[in-house]
Structures are given as C-alpha cells and as structure tokens.
Symmetry: D5
Subunit: 147 residues, 10 copies
C-alpha cells in the first residue's frame, strides 16, 4: 500500500458516494482548497483530520495512517499538463511569468513569493456576461539575504 | 528587427533610465499587470498606448509599430522555469493543479477558467510576521458544450 | 476503478460487439464527434446520456457514474503522436501554426479561437480523384482585453 | 543568406509597410491560407509567384530565388507551442486525436487524411453571441494497401 | 483485452512454436514485410487474413477480431530507439535526411514520398566480402499543390 | 570558419547559381547520393573531390580544406524531424522498426545492417497512377560474435 | 546589453587580470559564496557592492547598474549538468533526495528547507588521506500550514 | 522480487509500525543519513546490517539478501523533481552550480568533490527567528591528473 | 512471458542462489563480459549455451527458448543513467567523445569503431594507491566508403 | 572571449595548418588522449603546456591564459550524440551498462570506476580481417563507505 493507493481510493469513493469537496472540508473544519489538496495526496493530515477523512471515505486504519505521512508532492503526470483546465494555469505562468517577476521585485526587491507559507481561496464571481472564477493567492514574501 | 529586439530594448532602457513599471502603467492609463506584460512582449498595444511606451523608452517609430503587432507569446526560455520566483508559480500548478480542477468543476461543471478573458491584480499585503504577496486572478468560466 | 478503465471497457466492448460510433451518437442524440470524444474519455456526459452509453456498452451503474465525472483530458500517450493519422494533424499545426496565427489576428485582432466553445464536423467529401476527408471546425473568437 | 532570412525580412517588411496577407494573396492570385504559409517559409513559390511577393516585400533577386527553393518545413520553435492561439490547435489534436482516428477509420478504413494533398479555408462566422473562427479542411484520404 | 495483448501473444506463441514470419506470410498470401508488420500490431487485417493468423498463432475469436481493428501505430518504446539494429535506421534518417530531401525535391519538386502508399522488400544480397541486407522501398510521390 | 559555414555556403551558392546535385555528382564522378551527403556536411572528400566541389561552388582553398576533415555527422536540427518529407522516413522507422528487426534476424541471426558499409540509390519509378520514389539500400550484415 | 553580457565580461576580466573570488569577496565585505554567485549573475547587489565589483572588473556605469537589477536565475545550460564537478551535486540530489526528504520531515514535519533564506560555507578540510571539500548549508525550515 | 519491492515493503512497514529512521540507525550503529539511504534502496548493507534491518522491518531471509546486493541507484522518478522539498536542492544546484565550481577550483585546482567518498550530517539548528536545517557535506577532493 | 521476464528471473535467482557471473561464464565456456550481457538480456544464446544457463538458473524449457531469441537491446531505463557507476561511463563519452572521434579519424580516416564486431575484457589492476578497474575494448574499424 | 572561442580557434588552426594531435602531444610531452581532450576544451593546462599549445596554434597570450582556466566540461551538443562514431560509444554504455555494473561490483563490491583518476590509451590493433581500434581504460576503483 502507498499514499497513491489511498488517493485513488478516495477519488473512487467520492465518485461512488457522490461526495462534495466543500462538504468534506466543512467536516474537517478547514478550507476547501487545503482539504482537497490533502485528499489528493499533496498535504499531510494530523490524526484528527485523518480520522474525519477516513470516516467519510471508508478508509481503513492503515489507510488513515498514510494520510499522516508527508507525501511525495506533485499531482500531474507530465510537466506540461494536457488537461485544458490545468493547462490554462500553466499558460498563465508562461505568459505572465516575467510579469510576476518584474512586479514582485519592483515592490519587494529580490526574493520570492513563498509556495509553502501560502494560502488561496477560489470563488465564483457572478457576472452578467458570464460568471467568472476568482482566485486569491497569498504567499509570504521571502527576501534573499546577503551573508 | 523583431518584437524580441523591441522587448530587449525596453528592458535595457528601463535599467538605464531607472523607470518603474507602476509609472509606465500610470502613463498608459491601464493596470501595471497588463502594461508590464505588454512591454515584456506578451500583449498587443494600440497606436495610442504604443506612442506612450515609445516616448518613455525612446523607441523609434518602427519599434513602436512592432508593439502593435500581435506577438508570439510565451515569456520563458524553458517549460520548467529555473528562476526561483517563477518556479514557485510552476510549483503551485504542479501541487495544486488537480485541486484547481476539482474545485472549479465542483462549482461550475466541465469547462475551464479562461486565460484570455482574464485579469489580475498583484498587491503587497502587510503582515506583522512578514509582508505577503497577494494576487487576485479573475477569469471567465467557459463551459464545454455538447453539439 | 477509474475513468480510464471505463474507456478501455468501452473500446473493448465496441470491438466485441461490432458497434459503430455513428450509431452510438444517434442513440445519444448528439453529433458523432462529441459522442466519440466522450466515449473516449474526453467529455462529460449527463445522467441521461450516460445511461444510453451504459446500455450500449454493457456498463455497470458504477461505470456509468464515472462517465459523469469530468475527466483528466488528453487522449494521446506522447506529445508528438506516433500514429500516422494523428501525426498528420500534429504536422498541420507545425506547418500551418504561424499561418493560423497571422490570419486569425488579421481578421479579429489579438485573441484566440476557443477550443472549449468549439464544435466540429467530419464528413466524406466525394471526389473522382479519390474521396477526401472534410473537417469543419468552429470556435468562438475570444479577444484579449486590456485592464 | 537562407530561407529563414527571407522569411524574417518578409515579416519585418509587412510590419513596416502595414501590408495585409489577404491583399498579398489577391496579388498572387491564390488563397490567403496558401500564400501566407508560403511567405512564412512553409511552401514553395514558382517564379511568377515569387516575383509578385518580391515586388510587394522589396526583396532582392537573390531573395526571390530562395522563395523558389523547397524549405525545411515546420514553423514553430518548440513541439508543444507556447503561443496561446497556436496551443489551442495543439490541444484540439491532444483532446480530439483519438476521435479523429476513430471516425476517419469508421468511414474510410485504415489510412490517413493527407496533409500534403490538402487545402483549407479560414473565415469569420458571424454569431450574435460573439463571432466565430470557422476553418474548413479538406485532405485526400490515403488508404494503407496490402502488398 | 487490447491489440497490444494480441501482439504480445503472437510474439510469445511464435517463440513457443518456433514459427517463421516467411511461413506465416506464405499462408496469408502476402509479402513477409506487410504480414510481419501486421502481426506486430502496425497494420489492419481483413477477416480472412485474420482467420489465417488466428489459426497459426492459436488466437481466440475475440483476439482475431482485434486484428481487424485499425491499431494505434508506432512500434518503438522511445523516439530514439536503443536497439542497435533499429538505431542504424534512425541514424540513416539523421545522416541522410537532408540528402533524401534534396534529391527527391530535385527530381520531383515540392512534396513527399508517401509512407502510406508504400511497399518494401527486404532480401539477402550475397557478397563474397560478407552478405548484405538489401531493402527496396517504393512510395508514391505526393506533390504539394497550390490552392 | 567551420564545416557548417562551408555547408551553408554550398547551399547558398547552389541557390544562387542554380546548380543541380546530379550535375555536381557527375563532375565528382560518384553517385548523387554520396556526393549530396558530402556537400551537406555528412561525408569526407579527398583532395581531388574537394577540388571539384570547390570549383563548382566557388570555395576558397581554406574552405576546400574543411571538406577533407571528417565532419560531426547528423543533418537534422531535432531528433524527431518537423519537415514532412523527412518525417515520413522517421515514421517508417517507427512503424516498421520492429519489422526490420524481425526479418533481418530471421534471415541472418543476431546482428545489424551496417549504416557505414552502406550505399543507396534513389530513382523515379514511373507509374500510371502517379510516379513513385524508389530507394534501394544495401548495407553489409554485421553479426554479433561470442567471445 | 543584458545581465548575461555583464556576467561574461566579469568572467573574461577575471581570467585576464588573474583575480581571485576570495579577494573580490574581501573587498565587497561578504562571504565568497554569496559574492561569487552574485558576480556569476545569480544575486542582486546594492549600489555600494556594485561599485566595488565594477571597480575590480573595470565595468562601466551602465554595467554596474545591471548588477543591481534582479537577474533571471539559473546558472546552468541544461537541467542535467554535463560538467563532472557540478554533476556530482546533481547526483547527490538524485541518490540522497528521498533521504533528505525523510530526515527533514522526521525532524521538522511537513515543510521544506528554504533555498532563499539560506547561506552556505565551503572550506578545505585537511585530511592525511587526501584533503576534502567541506560544505555547510543552512536553510530556514518553512512549515506547510493548514488554512 | 527486486530491490524495489524490498524498499517499498520497508517504507510501508515503517508507516504501519511507526518506526523512526533515527532509531533504525541507532540499531544498525551507523549515521541516520547512511542508514536511511540504504533502507531507501541507495546503499548496500553487509550481512550483519541487513539482519538488523530485516528484524526491524519484518523482512524475510530472501528480502534481507536483496539488501546486500548493490542497487541501481537514483531515488527520484524524474530528473527535475516535482516534490518541493527535493526541488529546493535541485534549485541550489541550478543557482549555485557555477559557484561551487569556481570556488572548488580556486581552492583545489581542476577536479571534483567525490560523491562516493562522501559523508553528510543533517541537524536541526535552533534559531529564534525559526529553526534551520543544517547540512554538512564532506567529500574527498579528486584531482584530474595528466597522463 | 517475454525476454524481460526471463532476465528478471535470472537476476532474482542469482541473488537467491548466490551465483557469480564469473562462474556462470566458466560453465558456458565464454568470457564473463559476453555471458553477463547475454544473461542480462542483451545477447542471443545458442541452444547449448541456453541449456547451461537454464540449468544454473532453474529456467523452464520455455524460458530457455527465449534466451535464443534476439532481444530488443538497451539495458538502461533512461538515456542519461542515474546510477553513479554507469553514469561515469556516460560521462567519459560526454567528456572524451570528441577526443575519441579526433584520434580514431587521425589514425584510420573517416569511419567508426564497430560496437558489433566488438569484444572487451574487464580486470582488476592492482595498484598500491588503490586498485584500478582496467577495461580493454577492441572493435573493428569500419571505414565509410564512397559509391 | 571564452574557452569555447579558443577551442574553435584551435580546431580551425589545426585544419588550416594541417597539424596532427599526435605531434601536438609529443611537443607537450604527454599522451595524445589527454592532450587532445585538453585542446578540445575538456582539460586544464599548466602555464608551460599552454605555452606549447599557444605556439603551435598561434594563440595570443590572452587565449593561452584561457587554456589554464578549468573549463565547463562536456564536449557534445546533445546527450544522445548524433555522430555515428561517438554514438557507438553511447550504444556500448546502453547495451553493456548493466554488465559493467555487475562485473565491477562482483570484483570490487559497491563503488565506481573513477572518471577523474582515469587514463586511457587508444591504439591501432592490426588484424588480417581488418584492423581494429583498441582502447585501454584504467580508472581507480572508489568504494562507497559507511559512515
């Protein structure tokens, strides 16, 4: 058994039981973004969180234990994703990558936006011309330091 | 002469004259995100916008004309970027890619967040534990349709 | 069980029962292009469509449920396809890619032809010198907007 | 001097003189699709066609001679294109590749749609919900034969 | 079951029963080149041919049916083959690729040698200094056409 | 100066002077296949051959000397060629690679067809249904030996 | 002019003048590790540091200004380095990568060692059996947080 | 059975029994760095060490024997790792690769730091601003020699 | 069953029974280099040799038959090997590749060292400063010929 | 100026002056293998050696200084070489890679053959059936050590 097996079981159970990520997140008591990433094998749960997920997805005790092990992260089969929805995010990095870089350096100097001390929130933004996906990301700025 | 030559001249002139993207954007009258991307060879300017950019960066008339031609987009030299700041965005797509997919489909059904009918806003988010980079993205949801 | 398993079962059943995509499409009540793509794991069916497909391909209820889950799209094992028929399409993009770009921008300005709000129709075009494959594609033009 | 130099000169001259591909095509007396591909270094012109193109783009006699040499084809810098407009075509091949294959084989048997004995036509398709790009492709079906 | 399973069974049965491709071809009544390619999953057999192959390789009726389905072609695990015999052919394309191009264009103009309307014949060429492999390829020339 | 510079000069001079490879080969006194490959930077000429080529292509003495240096071989910019004519040969290796392997081993045992002790001949094969390209390849069989 | 041009000038001047990185670092007043990385185009200098470097390497004022611009980082031409010294570090990541992961998670939980809030020190470690290279790295642990 | 199977069993048993690498190392009597790498399939154990590991992880005698076979090394699924913790080490090689090279050559001349005659030590470095990961590496310098 | 299965069984049996390649080679009556390569799936055995190997490794008759089939060669999972021992050979080709080329051409003219008509011998070379691996390779020189 | 420029000048001068590597090596007083590698930009010369090479190849003092700088090693443009002579060495690593590994480990235990403390000798081996290339490699065995 591996974490990947547990992730696949979670996904299959979700389809079979018709669960929703928003409901899972509510049960766990954290954001839907973090909880979904955790269930998809990208984050580490503590014992209590794992117990909730195990209950919802009918996981065994052994499977619940895997949820508490830090996973080898990366959720995509290829470095350039083929799925159109995910590719659009890859495209944003490709087209706006140097723009992110210029504007963050202009505001903060040399450093990066942390992808670890990071949170995000994804919402529907109603719009008469067609609703929009709104994503707010917040990552700590980490400066390079001289030494 | 090509659009790439014009982009390189803009970057070199920015260094030489010590310009700021925020100021360039103010002169153009649009967001700093769109204007920076345009100056970096990713967007197409109209004649008026091009004239402003040409004035600020000492571009010739021929160079200004290139700003009005649709560029071959993509700002990065490799599909997996080596620059640490830009890589963090690549990592977010890698780690959260399936999470984006699950949550957008749960909310909207099958489709994508447009990377064309798209806008974003990048701000400093003051925080006593260290200021944060805050990015808000808004893209129109485009549903797949049966036919 | 995963969507891939369902796709493979559909393909194997099609071979075993000698079904035709055109007939499947007629039963579903949509174009053969969309229905084939859906059966091959690229589109999402609603409950009613899934029921028809399940009946034709002897799918279980659990398998039918997978047809209603948005799949991870991309139908090819490598980014440059080895199959000669599919490669010819790759070659058209390689040879005519910049031509598509120039002509669409000349007609519409900066933007793209949507691959989401998209439909296509594939027909036999009789020709005394050898019949031809005729493909008509229609995708909404999506303009880049300033902000 | 190489064909690539001539292509780059044509592109730069087009920007400088504000020419349109549709007008160039009219002068040459062929479709805008073929003529644009030829000017972009993908097709071979005969002497008469080359003379017209040379006149319009101020090419020297030596440059015009290059237009009559069969070029090394392929117009894109990477096999997976970064440009969003061109990528959408790559995505169509990725998502619909197996669908093209199934439907052409169902109609014609084993073989391919020729990318050589091929023509296409790109038009604006007016639509109240937003105009569309309409592309009609026609390629001779070439059957595999036993021997 | 898939075509790949059938191909693997054919190969394993060939080893177990000590069959020869030349004999299989004689039974099918076609060239050893075409028949071998078909048995290796690259060509499509008709019902009669499939029946012969099924008899020789102890295939079930279901397996025989797969031989009549157009396969996803491409017989190699990597685009640059590691096997020394096959690599030599890759090397010929690498070293002589531009020579093929120049000489075919010099003789025929712009176009290609078809890999579909194609046949080949592989023979032992006795030679006192060491026998040679002789391969004759014949492919229809397909000209690019203006439109 | 490098061999590549000499190759490019030969190609450019060929375009400028309208030379034909068949005529060059006749002057050198060898096959058009070998001579074209040599002029394209894949083979090594002796002093006499180099003098003929230098005369025909207006090469300097220094350039002629480069023709006598063994080149770094490989004539294509990418391992999977984008040019349609050359790609068809790549496709033949992909589709027929395992067939070449099976048939040569069946006839000769373990070993390879040499790509060094190799010659080939490319001819027009008249055909009422459209002329064909005929290529005859002959390579010495080299057996693996035990030791 | 670009940062790369400045880096190349620094390297060439270092060879010409026989400078040592340790001496450059002493003049700048920081560690040899940080200063070397900065001179090689990986870190950003402030005005005072840039002035010192400019003096030592005979840089113009314009070149000194480039040293104060945040560079596009990544010092290697390929993602798997060919240089034997640098490859050994790549190999350490390949062989010990999962060991780093296990031990850091065992000690700290889920998170990473920062490569931004990072310093290192490289020293000769005398050893009778042959001197050793000793490298001490120190990076802040950054924990993943729930949200 | 293969070494990979044994590694996977060790990892699964570790999760099931809640073992710690530091404790395993203490039992084996060597550093946690070497022992972890060995358990993860990167080092070769002697009979005695293998017996300890077998006892702790409930390995069979056959499995213990595999621990004493030199493994095919390399612990990562892709040459550019997707896991954020491991990627940071890849990034250090990318950003500091040329710095390592310059400083080691400046101190020692031409040669490399051995990745074989190598040891390392990973510790928590308490820090009021957030604890740090401290890694000390020591590799023998191996000079290139003339011959 | 495939040749790969047989290779894996040989490797597993070798571990289980504690066999040595040198002993296997002695039984077969050929060099340890050729016999090891054959057992690892890279060479083809005759009936007698296969019988010896089958006896030593407890292979069935069917498995022994696979040893007599020419394998698809290439023993490494990636074209740039991750295993440190094997990588050093890759590095020798990378660093000394052009040196091999220059010296062989200087001595023999244009051509190659055969990797087919090839033998090698690997020995321990005692040395007071540490024993050395000594490898002697001998490959027939094959000249390119004009035609 | 860079080391690559010096290497290219050495190669061009060698062609122009008709020098031989064996003679250059004799002047330098070291093996032809080491000296050729050094002249091709893979090894570092001391002042005296550099002076000899500079004299033979008409290098300036600045160019001679570059010969004394440790180069970024790796002499090939792609990781899988296209040149047939060099490819044969790549193929030997691919086919015999696991054999090298097994035999060295059987003789020496876990460790590698050094590619740094390494020397080699390339000779013509006369043979009535065609002369052979004989290469003797000697690399120190470096054992992995526990710690």
């Amino acid at each position: 058994m591996s974490r990947l097996d547990v992730t696949e079981k979670i996904i299959a159970t979700k389809v079979a039981k018709g669960l929703k990520w928003a409901d899972v997140a509510r049960e766990v008591g954290l954001s839907k973004e973090w909880v979904t990433a955790a269930c998809l094998g990208q984050m580490t749960l503590d014992a209590e969180q794992a117990a909730v997920v195990a209950r919802l997805f009918d996981l065994s005790e052994a499977e619940a234990r895997w949820l508490q092990v830090v996973p080898y992260k990366g959720s995509l089969p290829t470095s350039v994703p083929t799925d159109p929805l995910i590719y659009r995010f890859h495209e944003l990095v490709s087209v706006y990558g140097t723009t992110f870089k210029e504007l963050i350096h202009e505001e903060f100097g040399d450093g990066i936006m942390s992808a670890i001390d990071f949170r995000m929130d994804l919402q529907r933004e109603p719009d008469p011309k067609g609703d929009r996906v709104s994503i707010t990301m917040s990552g700590k700025f980490l400066p390079y330091k001289t030494y």
